[in-house]
Amino acid sequence: MSIFDDPFDADSRVNAGCICGQHRSPAEHEHATLALRCEPVVASQEKRYENVVASAVLRAVFPEVTTRRAFLKSVGAATALAAVSQFFPLKTATEAFAEAGTPEKKDLKVGFIPITCATPIIMAAPLGFYAKAGLNVEVVKTAGWAVIRDKTINKEYDAAHMLAPMPIAISLGLGAQPIPFTVPAIENINGQGIVLSMKHKDKRDPKDWKGMKFAIPFDYSMHNYLLRYYLAEHGIDPDTDVQLRSVPPPEMVANLRADNIDGFLAPDNICQRAIYDGVGYLHILSKEIWDGHPCCSFAASREFITSAPNSFAALTRAIVDATAYASKAENRKQIAEAIAPANYINAPVTVLEQVLTGTYADGLGGVKTDPKRVDFDPFPWQSFAVWMLTQMKRWGQIKGDVDYKAVAEQIYLATDTRKVMTDMGLAPPKDSYKSFSVMGKSFDPTKPDDYVASFKIKKAS
């Protein structure tokens, strides 16, 4: 799948050949559903904007699809572009377009937690994505999830890196008073892992894990839901058979070394750090539980959006842009170097490189390669939010009935992000819901209550 509709591709079909309507063939649709990601085809943003503008002009000149295609076929794309630019100043139009609305507030503060999930938010500063969007953003490292929540609520931060379920929890008033929050973009997909202490080298079957102590970063985290899901699928009740502790990621490695915990499901660079220090080994990557699961999100309060809509749009553009850049494998080494210094993640470059490039030591003496160990896809699928809500309900974090759809649509801004992405010349998915499967069990976002009911192990409500 391409995030660009190339307006000068005469062969592109008018009616797409797949179910969802955005791919050219069922095979491509299949591939895209598997990969769930945007792959930038044209490297530079200017070029992309040019395409959007050119496409609009061409469509205006030849409103009929068939005529346009016939014209393109007969003269070729290059000539068509030259012809169009002769009577229409494409360059000027592109510049005018790229500028969009002037941000109401240029100096922004964005909080982050030093883990590789925050890669797009962090790298956008040293690699100049914020500056390109006309913003002066200071990215501020923060001590923990509760602090980042409080500082964003207090408006010390204009926007922040949050765990994907956190904006939902904040908006619903779980663990804080309800304040409407939104997710304009998902940061990363995959990129987590289950790490066990070296002394459990032979306990690879989760059925043997009864009585063990595991660390998770936060109660409202994908890590919590994925670990619980994984354990429950193996017949372990996460509430009674094992102990789950909320531990800040940086302290996990030290706790594992001190034998306070037996393992953790943690964000990356922490997993790899435990291996790097010879403390633990990688049991599985989180993508083996659910390939393409969201992890962290880019979140802002609704108040920020209404008070500074242009700043918010510019910020979203910068993040989407950085995410698209980070999704390309060939950029990953450069990114690892850019985010490793003490000002950002503060971790050895080797560790970050192993996480981002996907060639890593597994802690048991083997070197493995999985280029999708962590991936970046900005689109905030509302079905992700519905899934998180089902898990919140499953584990008793939400009591009573939930209007899954309404909550998901209020918080996960698929529509707005789609508009921003379209304006940027990317081709976002047309749907906001999609089904996916977690450990072989498919999830239908239209039937969340049935999904919750279908689990054998859950907290009785």
Binding site: V140, A143, V253
Partner: protein, 279 residues
Amino acid sequence: MTTSLRLRAAVVSIVLLAVFLGAWHIATRSTGAAANMSPEYAKLMGMTATQGKSAMPGPLDVGAKLWEHLKRPFYDNGPNDKGLGIQLAYSIGRVMLGYLIAVAIAIPLGFLIGMSPLISKALDPFIQILKPISPLAWMPLALYTIKDSSLSAIFVIFICSVWPMLINTAFGVASVRKEWINVARTLEVGNFRRAFTVILPAAAPTILTGMRISIGIAWLVIVAAEMLVGGTGIGYFVWNEWNNLSITNVIIAILLIGVVGMVLDQLLARVSRLVTFPE
């Protein structure tokens, strides 16, 4: 005699330090390279796993790193990475601000409590309840109500340093010798003049003891507070390096926190020597 005692104490101190450093060095030596590890795998692993290096740094590592920090204490690589000098300055600034606010409130209030038995009795239950609360327990409440993390840190410093000063001031004022106050009364000295010329000098040593206890507590608390709120300060530095599992930098920070705490304490000790009087 005193010089030789001092000399002997210094020798013992140095020997103790040398023994400690030596033991530290020996305890953290590496145990030799780990066997059977493919070179390709070893390249991806850290020194702890490949060289059998102890997770604790040795004194030489710490010394080298310390020298590196001392060479450039004021660098600024952006909002999350600043030199140790800048971090310490932020911490000291916060401590001073919170502490001065505490002084401004605790000393007048302490006077009032010390001079008036009624207010003393009335306020006593509140003070007794508020005094033993760990300052960090205020942190979530402060963050929630003040809605600003650096102001919250200053508030926490204020709340922890106010009690020793308040109690010491009240005690000092209340225990000024009755004869002196009676003499002042016979001379028909006004209330204000009595407070400033009789009670204040008489209670000054006790007040300064309270201030000295307070500055110590404030400096203890700032590190913990900054670890919680982050951003800047020596506490944030400790947290940031802890994040990177860089024990070397954490040890350096511990050392510096000790040195600064000692300097602050000595400064107040000097001042309190100035106001003591023989009876």
